[in-house]
């Protein structure tokens, strides 16, 4: 499983491209990092890979995941997980239901699905939070729940949008280690945008500077 960006550039309507064409190759279990100051179009790049570009944005170049060109695919068919700096848990669902929303549909049976969700929570150190309101979790707990939700959906790749920038310093190192370990275990390529050099060091994968 590999993620390849081949001369990817994005522009809004007739405006000049946001950044020079970007090429990158991320191998399975590897975390590629895109660095750059804010406003340069890092998040827009992730939108293009995930299929979330707003109307009016034009993406040129090729984005290939496991040999499949992603152009024209709606986001729900790309199987690319998405992590933001806020966990973005669904506020109307309990913690367990948030994970169940993500859990791949090929897992059948109520009790089996419930078991998988509970085991994932346990693995993330969230045992006992299953029926809680996500708004009552701490920042670190929310981030871990969001990562578990994404991994349960069995993504083929992962996008991380400044994933640790809202956590305080101590928690940041812990979450970074937790997230990167899970990505390496699952053997999928990940693409992270950040302005924090320590994130890039921890990722230890290819790094591209924008702008």
């Amino acid at each position: 499983m590999t993620l390849t960006l081949d001369a990817v550039a994005i522009r809004f309507r007739a405006a000049p491209p946001l950044f020079p064409p970007l090429s990158m190759h991320v191998a399975p279990g590897e975390i590629g990092t895109v660095m750059g100051s804010s406003g340069i179009g890092k998040s827009t790049l992730l939108d293009a890979v995930g299929g979330h570009l707003d109307h009016g944005f034009v993406c040129s170049g090729r984005i290939v995941l496991n040999g499949r060109d992603l152009a024209g695919l709606p986001p729900e068919q790309r199987r690319i997980g998405l992590m933001f700096q806020d966990a973005v848990l669904f506020p109307h669902l309990s913690v367990a239901d948030n994970l169940a929303f993500g859990l791949a549909a090929r897992i059948k049976g109520r009790s089996q699905r419930r078991d998988m969700v509970l085991r994932a929570l346990e693995r993330a150190g969230l045992g006992g939070t299953a029926d809680r309101d996500p708004a009552t979790l701490s920042g670190g707990q929310r981030a871990r729940a969001a990562l578990m939700r994404t991994l349960l959906s069995e993504p083929l790749a992962l996008l991380l949008d400044e994933p640790f920038s809202k956590l305080d310093a101590g928690l940041r190192a812990e979450m970074r280690a937790f997230t990167f370990a899970h990505i390496r275990d699952s053997g999928i390529p990940a693409l992270m945008v950040t302005h924090d050099a320590t994130d890039a060091q921890g990722a230890a994968g290819p790094v591209v500077h924008l702008g």
Binding site: G50, G51, H52, L53, D54, H55, G72, L73, P74, P75, E76, R78, R79, I80, G81, L82, F84, D86, V88, F90, P91, H92, F101, G102, A104, A105, D133, P134, A135, T136, R149, T150, S153, P155, L159
Partner: protein, 571 residues
């Protein structure tokens, strides 16, 4: 990018098509029929124009000039006064009272149908009403004084009634517009420069606020100038306002009067357009004069008494409104209530005991029409907003403006023309036609209520769901609608309230064959039986209350354990 975004049958195209064909085209067609009839062309009654006869007939009508004058005075007067009070109250109370608390106090007044309020207010204001009874011992009246306190020839009671409804509406509009402006910082900056509170409001906040509230103010203005039910109950009767005069002509058994009535419909439209033009001119003028005024830099501290006065006026309106609501309820249970007692001597359920004799059927019609038109409008609004999301385009502003056309064009100007078309299709007088006619007026309000919260929804929720493999329908039903449950419920309640309040569409499109609580209450208001009138008015007011109560309770119960979704008041 995504499949379907460009296809002809995208949800967005379907929603815009429904709005164009279901709402805009019929209004335009109805207007066209009115224009034809105004120039003497109405084949159904053997009139084959074009000729100017209807206009000559209209101009020859006794009291036309007085009716026009009354329309301008009451419509413009009520709107200007309401706007001044609402802005003053906002300036006086902003930052002191929590907006959420204010919203809760306002909800009953927003829910109250115009007709029910007018009936209750007439009970309070009439010489034999509560005010007269309270004053009787002091002034030594042994019977109700012979004063025209309701239906006064100047339209003062009508202006008062309109204000009780419109001040809370405008306050609500202002409160939500104010959330878009950093009032606290600007107020602090202005006061640090030595300007008084009122002055900062007038010179700094108001100019930014105006573009945000202009459309609702126009709606209030158009409504005030063309309202029929409230004007029938509270307004002067001879001559009445133009809209009432035209409604009488349209309902006259003499079909030849339809032609001058249609001409009058155009005149009514012309008056509203002229009022809009006046607003525009005043706005232009104020921009020039206000600029000079601001540059002179006078601080001026004279506004505090004015602000206090607006709060007093609002309190008076709220008390009168509360009294009006109580009065109709008390009358519906009253049996013997001699002058000048403040409460009835004896009580009775008699007026309520005969649902089969009338109010049962009217209640049934009202509920069915309200649920269907609110439901249809809600579906269409959701389809529209979801269609926008799926096309990942911005808002279709042209359509958004056009949706409000039914609220800006006087009802009396196009409903008759629309009914001509329905007659030709054999649909006039059917329940279905009335539901559809209500939807014309319900949909804009539902859209207005739902659009802001929908567009404010965090787009990352939908993106996260898509990244987890959820398709567009699962994102809509599994994520967006549950998260937006409170505003969806609120929009539905507003839809119900708007439908229950409709008078003219029910009367014209229902061709008198679909009696609702509103049409029956307005008819009864002219009679002398206050007990039965009280029953209909109370029921009419109860339905929107119930809808708002449900809209408030349902999300609170469903989301009781979800901290991030609680604490949103229905808007």
């Amino acid at each position: 990018m995504s499949g379907g975004a460009y296809s002809l049958w995208s949800l967005r195209a379907v929603a815009l098509g429904c709005v164009s064909l279901g709402i805009l085209a019929p209004v335009a067609a109805g207007m066209w029929q009115t224009v034809r009839a105004a120039f003497g062309s109405l084949p159904a009654i053997g009139a084959f124009g074009p000729d100017a006869g209807p206009w000559a007939d209209l101009l020859a009508m006794p009291g036309l000039l007085a009716a026009v004058r009354l329309t301008i005075v009451t419509g413009l007067g009520a709107t200007v006064l309401s706007l001044m009070v609402a802005i003053g109250v906002c300036a006086a109370l902003h930052g002191r009272r929590s907006p959420r608390l204010a919203a809760r106090v306002l909800v009953p007044f927003l829910a109250m149908p115009h007709a029910a309020l007018a009936i209750g207010l007439a009970f309070v204001l009439a010489p034999s009403g509560w005010i007269g009874r309270a004053m009787a011992p002091w002034l030594g009246w042994d019977r109700p004084p012979d004063l025209a306190t309701v239906n006064d020839p100047w339209g003062l009671a009508l202006i008062l009634g309109l204000m009780i409804k419109e001040v809370p509406f405008l306050l609500f509009v202002l409160l939500s517009a104010l959330t878009q402006i950093p009032v606290r910082q600007q107020m602090a900056a202005g006061r640090a420069l030595g300007y008084g509170r009122g002055m900062v409001w007038i010179k700094v906040i108001l100019p930014q606020l105006w573009p945000l509230i202009r459309l609702p103010v126009m709606i209030v203005l158009a409504y005030g100038m063309s309202v029929v039910d409230m004007a029938l109950i509270l307004g002067p009767s001879n001559p009445p306002t133009l809209a009432v005069m035209l409604t009488r002509l349209f309902s006259n058994p003499d079909l030849r009067l339809l032609l001058p009535a249609s001409a009058g419909g155009l005149l009514q439209l012309g008056l509203v357009i002229a009022a809009f033009a006046l607003v525009w001119l005043v706005q232009r003028g104020l921009r020039v004069l206000g600029g000079c005024w601001v540059r002179r830099g006078r601080r001026g501290g004279w506004t505090e008494p004015g602000l206090a006065l607006t709060v007093v006026v609002l309190s008076g309106l709220v008390v009168l409104g509360g009294l009006a609501m109580s009065a109709m309820l008390v009358w519906s249970f009253a049996w013997r209530w001699p002058w000048p007692a403040l409460v009835p001597d004896s009580w009775s359920l008699r007026a309520w005991m005969a649902p089969a004799g009338g109010w049962g059927r009217a209640l049934g019609h009202t509920v069915v029409i309200a649920l269907c038109s609110a439901g249809l409008s809600l579906l269409l609004a959701i389809a529209w907003l979801e269609g926008e999301d799926r096309a990942r385009r911005g808002r279709a502003r042209w359509a958004e403006v056009l949706v409000h056309v039914p609220l800006l064009v006087p009802q009396v100007s196009f409903l008759f023309g629309m009914n001509i078309l329905l007659l030709r299709l054999g649909l006039s007088g059917s329940l279905l036609a009335v539901i559809w006619a209500h939807s014309l007026f319900v949909f804009p309000y539902v859209m207005l209520a739902l659009a802001a919260p929908w567009r404010a929804l965090d787009p990352r929720l939908g993106r996260t769901a898509a990244a987890l493999g959820a398709g567009p329908w699962r994102r809509l039903i599994g994520i967006k609608l549950p998260v937006l449950l409170a505003p969806v419920c609120a929009a539905a309640a507003i839809g119900v309230a708007v439908s229950v309040a409709q008078y003219l569409p029910t009367l014209f499109i229902g061709a008198g064959r679909v009696p609702t609580l509103t049409t029956e209450a307005v008819t009864l208001a002219a009679s002398s039986d206050r007990r039965v009138t009280g029953v209909y008015a109370s029921l009419q007011a109860a339905l929107p209350f119930l809808a708002y109560l449900l809209a408030f309770a349902l999300p609170a119960i469903v989301h009781r354990n979800r901290r991030d979704l609680r604490g949103q008041v229905p808007e």
